[in-house]
């Protein structure tokens, strides 16, 4: 499905990003595994991808730092020769009620989750324009559509990503570059495992399909959007949330 394609996945050392990196590799892509802090975890993902039989490298960069990102993209293209798929997945949370949220908490989340998408997208666009093809998939969140108390910064960033996706899609469509987003709902991760049974039950009440999602259920949609099967889709945000927000 993605044979011979080269991908860069940001924030790929764990969680949904890790699953996306592995899924792209399973479908034939070589993958650059971006991480910011956890080198050992990133190395594990690299090893797993190599075990699948694809090429993989780990590349460190803070996505909010343009200089680092440019270096990273140069390194990836140097290693792989082309860059066909960018998955902007890196994200952080600094949850707090609006009344309690500090300016720096707001800025940190906007910088990584929104500005980081802008910086990484800009950095790969030159290469993709030259190739006259490319797929960019941004990981937004369902709360970017619905809002969520305690996450003003995160929600603002994730809603911003949806707008950025649409604009980038329009700007780059004439160069055969497709840009789409996914908006995961409650996905089973370390974070949701830590919730109490009561909290989990409360979450399940809001989900028509009655269960949490799995990281691979997000990864498979990203893989679809990255493939030629999605060749007529651009500028869209696909909800992966068990029907929570329609």
């Amino acid at each position: 499905m993605l044979q011979g394609k080269n991908a860069l996945v940001t924030g790929a050392s764990r969680g949904i990003g890790r699953e996306i990196a592995l899924e792209l590799a399973r479908q034939g892509a070589n993958v650059a595994v971006n991480f910011s802090g956890n080198e050992a975890k990133a190395q594990e993902v690299v090893e797993e991808i190599k075990a699948i039989g694809r090429n993989a490298i780990k590349v460190q960069a803070d996505v909010a730092n343009e200089t680092c990102v440019k270096e990273m993209v140069k390194e990836v293209i140097g290693e792989f020769g082309t860059l066909d798929i960018l998955v902007n997945n890196a994200g952080v949370t600094r949850d707090n009620l609006l009344m309690r949220m500090k300016e720096e908490e707001f800025d940190q989340v906007i910088n990584t989750n929104l500005k980081g998408v802008f910086i990484c997208t800009k950095a790969v666009t030159r290469q993709m324009m030259k190739q006259k093809s490319g797929q960019i998939i941004n990981v937004s969140s369902i709360v970017g559509v619905s809002g969520n108390p305690g996450q003003a910064n995160y929600v603002a960033a994730k809603a911003g990503v949806i707008g950025l996706t649409k604009t980038t899609a329009k700007e780059l469509a004439s160069r055969n570059i497709r840009v789409n987003a996914v908006a995961p709902g409650f996905i089973s991760t370390d974070m949701t495992d830590a919730l109490t049974e009561e909290q989990q039950a409360g979450m399940l009440d809001m989900i028509p399909l009655g269960k949490l999602g799995k990281p691979e259920e997000v990864a498979k949609v990203v893989r679809f959007l990255a493939s030629e099967d999605a060749s007529y889709i651009t500028g869209q945000t696909i909800h992966i949330d068990g029907g929570m927000v329609m």
């Binding site: 030159r126 004439s174 160069r175």
Partner: protein, 76 residues
């Protein structure tokens, strides 16, 4: 000088698919050569590769005519 102009012209003719005679020093990319904003960005990228240099965004924004591009390259 002529050398730079000829190299720039060749890229423009190829990239924008325009007749060679239209590519003069005075020709405006957008008005005379029917380039859209993205075409100009791409053109600047190609010039960077051709002449092995980097044009800063602030400088690139000032390039409106073929002459602007040629003069910028000659000024380096």
């Amino acid at each position: 000088m002529a050398d730079v102009f000829d190299r720039v012209k060749a890229i423009i003719v190829d990239r924008l698919d325009v007749d060679e005679s239209k590519v003069t020093m005075e020709a405006s990319f957008k008005d005379d050569l029917e380039a859209d904003s993205l075409d100009v960005v791409e053109l600047v990228m190609e010039l960077e590769d051709e002449f092995d240099m980097e044009i800063a965004d602030e400088e690139a924004e000032k390039i409106n005519t073929v002459g602007d591009a040629v003069n910028y390259i000659n000024s380096l």
